[in-house]
Amino acid sequence: MQLAPMEAARALDREFLQIRARILELAADLDRLDRGAGSLEGDQRMEQIRQALEVLLRQEPGRAEAVQMIFSRPYDPQWKTHFRPVPKPR
């Protein structure tokens, strides 16, 4: 069964305050990281966060999937060539 998504204007009416709240929460999270002692320079997680925030500004579908991929280890299609099952005892 295919499900029709809610009409966009109605969805925005329903979600606007929650989106606003989540963006504010995120902004405050980043401010908190800035205020903390020490530096996060070179921390790969900050780079992932920056990339993910850029995805949110794209004007195209699939943003949730794209963010997931930023936080995922890449798939190695050759993984089986390195894999050897543990032999069963005789």
Binding site: M1, P5, E65, Q68, M69, S72, Y75, D76, K88
Partner: protein, 277 residues
């Protein structure tokens, strides 16, 4: 509204949770074997766990009119200990004739290691040997994508395996398409932080349709919510999706998948529960 929670770890929950689930319209739960929060030291620890799953939990659930089903395996985390895992695999058939056992699960990967793959493959063989459905755990967070793809690669090597008898659980936006495209069932786990939220689960359904998709709470001893499926139902209703569509996801799809197990039997009352509003 009546529903089934197809993945919940009731051994970790209090008896009051069964009552709450029953009040919410839950007719049945299915409980895959999993990691207890610590590594068990011997095969006897697993034998006791399987007794718990096949004898204690069905009685506890029945007090509230909830049917309890289960899946048996050694989980991916403890699969790292291959000698112990093999002892457990050899012992599992002792329990396969218990009336609430649906199949083998939740097998899968955790950190995508060769040991985990070895034990996963041997448990797929066990399921095939006993002609049972399989419930699969996919890894968490950054390991999910690679691990899910590895699992699908390994399953593809079993030419005799019917994809329709395999449920790949914990799918999210980046893994659901591949699972469905290959003909497997897919489960979405509704977790507060680390997996899927009710809103994102409904988004995924709006993109992929309801066929072969399930939702579950995977309620356990960690941060989780046993009433997450009713939360999903509320999200579906608030977006205006039909009663029929909701029933398909939360009741009919689990029944279709579970009905492939010889032990699955469930009577669905003809009238909606009072909680359906």
């Amino acid at each position: 509204m009546f529903y089934i929670d197809p993945h919940i770890h009731m051994v970790s929950r209090i008896t009051d949770d069964y009552e709450t689930l029953a009040r919410m319209g839950c007719l049945a739960v299915s409980e895959p074997a999993f990691w207890a929060g610590f590594d068990r030291g011997s095969v006897e620890g697993f034998r006791d766990y399987f007794r718990h799953l096949t004898q204690v939990e069905p009685r506890r659930a029945a007090q509230f009119g909830v049917k309890h089903f289960t899946w048996l395996c050694i989980n991916a985390k403890e699969a790292e200990n291959v000698p112990l895992a093999r002892e457990v695999i050899a012992m599992i058939p002792e329990f396969l004739q218990q009336p609430n056992v649906l199949g083998i699960g939740e097998i899968g990967l955790n950190k995508n290691t060769p040991n985990e793959c070895t034990v996963f493959l041997e448990q797929v063989e066990l399921a095939l040997q006993y002609d049972l459905p399989i419930l699969i755990h996919t890894p968490h967070l950054e390991d999910k994508y690679m691990g899910t793809r590895m699992i699908l690669d390994m399953l593809a090597d079993f030419s005799q395996l019917d994809p329709n008898r395999v449920l790949v659980d914990h799918v999210e936006e980046h893994t659901v398409r591949e699972v469905l495209d290959r003909g497997y069932w897919a489960g979405m786990t509704l977790y507060p932080v680390t997996k899927c939220t009710p809103k994102r689960a409904v988004d995924i359904l709006e993109m992929y349709g309801t066929e072969r998709l399930l939702v579950n709470s995977a309620g356990d001893w960690g941060p989780s919510k046993p009433t997450a499926v009713p939360d999903f139902i509320m999200e579906m209703r608030s977006r205006g999706h039909s009663y029929e569509a909701i029933q398909e996801v939360v009741l009919e799809n689990p029944m279709r998948f579970f009905s492939q197990s010889p032990h699955f039997q469930l009577e669905v009352p003809t009238q909606p529960s009072s909680a359906s509003a």
